[in-house]
Amino acid sequence: MTTLTKTEDASAPTGPESFLSVRDLKVQFSTEDGIVKAVDGLSFDVERGKTLGIVGESGSGKSVTNLTILGLHNPRTSTIDGEIVLDGKELVTAGERELERLRGNKMAMIFQDPLTALSPFYTVGRQLSEPFMKHRGASRKEARDRAIQMLEKVGIPQPKVRFDDYPHQFSGGMRQRAMIAMALMCDPELLIADEPTTALDVTVQAQILDLLKDLQQEFGSAIIFITHDLGVISHMADDLLVMYAGRAVERGTVREVLHEPKHPYTWGLLSSMPRLDSDLDQHLTPIPGSPPSLLNPPAGCRFHPRCAFKEEVQGNLCSEVRPPLGDGRAAACHLTAEQKQTIFIDKIQPRLR
């Protein structure tokens, strides 16, 4: 198993031009119940100006990964191995001072629930101004001007007045806009959006998603967009990484992964989800069981206990050997390429009508 992990390591994509590159990242938390292997050997790249979507369910390690990039885990309870290189700078070994200079400046984050993610004690304006004053050495006045400009940019009416309001005086959609404005204060080159629209209503979500896309065109940031919603991701991302139980199981462009998925888990996700245009008589095909506990994850392929196709693989490969995730377009599964092709065409595609 270890050897296979190594091979993956060696064959992982190594684009010299990639702006953010994560290699064989492992994040473990020590808890009272034992060690949680939240992320286990994850590698991916993000290019400038592109959006990488990371999709997965709760406990898949998608949020943990991104807090790790920002270096926000408590070093006392977590162990982090592997490499995170942002524009040539290694982050896993970087000191706290250095990370502080990058956070909110070169890399910024948008959190899920803007109500709890903004401090109730300070005005929106103050919370926006802080990073600008810190990273740019701007005066209070300059920061205020910049904040008002950004609030206007994200579509908050009367930004001069709203600058002095507290988050609880904003509506849900407006709060998330303020959060986006806050993340963009210092023109970050990497923007991490962690389920930024999950707490919002669908019409507001549509506004915010379009806004993020338009802003990306204007600012040219690279975006890591985390979500559990395949619909949202197909709207937002260029490339897609599917995560399951702390590992990446499939990688490719959004089109490739959503239209010719190669991993049984991705198949399961797509066929368990009703769509607005799906055939009305089409029964949903759920994935049986529930995601594993990361305290004691299954050996081999972590998805194998829920996999409907493990019998098609010879021997005990699925339960004993971790399937590697190859270069570029790839799926971490022991099924052969032909098997994947046949199963998808014969069994999966009919379900997606």
Partner: protein, 373 residues
């Protein structure tokens, strides 16, 4: 001008099933707000639900969709009589239960059951699964054939849980399994109507389908009528035969699934459908209209006059502010497809020449982009 387009709402025609199990008329719930100085008094009301009509036929599944604050959950709670209606009437199987007392409602209550959103907080953590499912039978003094325990084991099996788990506690189960326990509890009294309030929205995608399938089996095989309350339009479409769309305490459009999803007339329904992000190829996405509203839903304390959607509507005219549009069958609508709009949209969800973008920030940026593009 729209007046001559509209027809009076048909009474008891094929659109509203003749054998109505539940009939709601003018249902209203206002939550009073107290304040003032020096003596506290009623200073206003949250108009959570404001005069809605709704019918659920025997064995029928009706979806109730809308965004937060539209009053869909309040409606569910009014129908199950967890809340006391301010006005209007609720008729269940010909019996008026709007203000029925505890005793009067007792026989009906066992026939109307509820499934809640949060599988973590809606089950008592100190009770075993067996006693959770058993308790509705105990409360209502029902002794099924073969005893309550046998019935509970049957129910556990029915919802896909191991009957051996009778003595386990809720925390030993995953979210999806807990929701199954909630379903088993709702089924314990052989209900005829289940009000399911966002039954899958707290669950992971792969688990959602398990619960949706279970509910669908229950609905089809046991002939139980469902009022399925959810914000996820795709799930509602998958589950419901008829759908009502709510906005700010009003039903703005109701009809069979086909009409609502493929031939919507109300601008809000159009906006809602167009906002759903779909897994689609780019060419498919281009076929759909693009509508981006501005801002959020207004406060239900001071809802807009006339048509409540008018403040965010691209077709709004003076009439919309002065006159509340009635929920009627517009010409061109199928039977039972009612729309409350003075200036309805064309019955299509296809792409139109121009996108409708009301949001000022999007407008600014997209207009700015055009010359470069």
């Amino acid at each position: 001008m729209s007046d001559n387009l509209t027809l009076p709402a048909p009474q008891g025609t094929s659109g509203t099933p003749a054998d109505a199990l539940l009939e709601v008329k003018g249902l209203t719930k206002h939550f009073p707000i107290y304040g003032g100085f020096p003596i506290k008094r009623r200073v206003g009301a949250v108009q959570a639900v404001d005069g809605i009509d709704l019918t659920v036929g025997v064995g029928e599944s009706v979806g109730l969709v809308g965004e937060s604050g539209c009053g869909k959950s309040t409606t569910g709670r009014l129908i199950t009589r967890l809340l006391e209606p301010t006005a209007g009437s609720i008729t269940y199987a010909g019996q008026d239960i709007t203000h029925a007392s505890r005793r009067q409602i007792a026989p009906v209550r066992s026939e109307i059951q509820m499934i809640f959103q949060d599988p973590y907080s809606s089950l008592n953590p100190r009770q075993t699964v067996g006693s959770i499912i058993k308790s509705p039978m105990e409360v209502n003094g029902i002794e099924p054939e073969g005893g309550r325990e046998k019935k509970v084991r049957e129910l556990l099996e029915l919802v896909g849980l191991n009957p051996e788990h009778y003595n386990r506690f809720p925390h030993e189960f995953s979210g999806g399994q807990r929701q199954r326990i909630g379903v088993a509890r709702a089924l314990a009294l052989n209900p005829k109507l289940i009000v399911a309030d966002e039954p899958v929205s707290a669950l992971d995608v792969s688990i959602q389908a398990q619960v949706v399938n279970l509910l669908q089996e229950v609905q089809r095989e046991l002939g139980i009528a469902f009022l399925f309350i959810a914000h996820d339009l795709a799930v509602v479409r998958h589950f419901s035969q008829r759908v009502a769309v709510m906005y700010l305490g009003k039903v703005v459009e109701v009809g069979d699934r086909e009409s609502i999803y493929n031939r919507p007339r109300h601008p809000y329904t159009h906006a809602l459908l167009s906002a759903v992000p779909e897994v689609g190829v780019d060419s498919e996405a281009a076929d759909r209209e693009r509508i981006r509203l501005s801002g959020d839903v207004p406060s239900p304390i001071h809802p807009p006059s006339g048509c409540r959607f008018r403040t965010r509507c691209w077709k709004a005219q003076d009439k919309c502010a002065t006159e509340e549009p009635p929920l009627v069958q517009l010409s061109g609508n199928g039977d039972g497809h009612l729309t409350a709009c003075h200036f309805p949209e064309d019955p299509t969800t296809g792409s139109r020449g121009d996108d409708i973008v009301m949001d000022p920030a999007l407008m600014a940026m997209e207009e700015g982009d055009t010359p470069e593009a």
